[in-house]
Assembly symmetry: C2
Homo-oligomer: 228 residues x 2
Amino acid sequence: MLHKINQKTNLMNIAVLGTGAVGETIGSRLIALGHTVKMGSRTATNEKAAAWVSKNGSNASAGTFADAAAFGEVIFNCTKGMVSLEVLQMAGAENLSGKVLIDIANPLDSSQGGIPVLSISNTDSLGELLQRSFPDVHVVKALNTMWCGIMVNPRMLGGTHHTYLCGNSTEAKQTVREILQQFGWTENEIIDLGDITNARGTEGILPLWIRVYTATKNGAFNFGIVTA
Amino acid sequence: MLHKINQKTNLMNIAVLGTGAVGETIGSRLIALGHTVKMGSRTATNEKAAAWVSKNGSNASAGTFADAAAFGEVIFNCTKGMVSLEVLQMAGAENLSGKVLIDIANPLDSSQGGIPVLSISNTDSLGELLQRSFPDVHVVKALNTMWCGIMVNPRMLGGTHHTYLCGNSTEAKQTVREILQQFGWTENEIIDLGDITNARGTEGILPLWIRVYTATKNGAFNFGIVTA
């Protein structure tokens, strides 16, 4: 079901921060759509980033977090939420300034064993923390409520399901909406919740997500809003 | 779509604690299904409870929280989460002991204005607080993730959607499952998450629920788990 977009407009230089499954999946999908992607990590010679580049052709490259952020017109935060602030500090405010940061991380703390808990929640969120820390970056929280395979290929599921946008810049949210539509999300499946404080809502469902995954033994699901 | 169950088995004496929209809706549906219901409130002469009784026929009655709890084989907690512990204390441990308590409340704190926040969350939950406070009551968290109209008539929505059970007693969860099926939930729509600590997950989606309601201007929705 993956499809290459026809129009050559809206092809961008995009940074993907993080070399885990989320970063690889997002990065590869962006490459398949025709974008040019630099994957960022702590060092310029990260083995996982190099392996990803070798699989993804001439539009793929890798570098430090700062290299990637400087390169990207739009930046995906695909790092673990517990280190996201540190990663953005390594990327450098000067490389992030004025850009759209798509924050798909969750502040899950696994350090106590058992089911992870949120390190920030209810009256604050990771999205807000990142926005406060980098006031001239346009942080848009999106896609953080599902497994990464679904983020980039929503049509793999057998029905209508939803993702959320929140952020303080309407223009930035429009940019993210266009990328989500390139991924395969329909207009009606993308719900704009308002400003970045609404990340409290979308990050807040991770504790239920984990438990549904545990109970059903299937991570390839998303929550859909079912109406009359 | 409301239907009366045919079998006369499994008809019970049920307590509904709370006279708000949730209590009224749950109580009326239970009466329609053939159960006998006593609605409990702070005083034996509550006007809303009396009005509910007058609309619901001879199987409906009202009394104090203690009267209702003493009457019920199964007890629905339909109070606001911020007062639920106090209400159960008024109901009296001796009237609750050994019984199934279906907790559909959420610990939403509106006292600060703006969007309500959870007064207990992430590393604890209202369900757990009630279970800790009344160790020999079989607390089952259920139905707290949607508008009350959908709780008792899930088929009003146009598709498959889900509700969750959690609690420490398998037998109590089976009792609740049977009541949910009388309400119209299908077997596959009822997801058992495990013990009562999983209430952290189901209570944790209220901040998103409120925001989806605000964004879509429609409270008549539920989240469904969409798979491949």
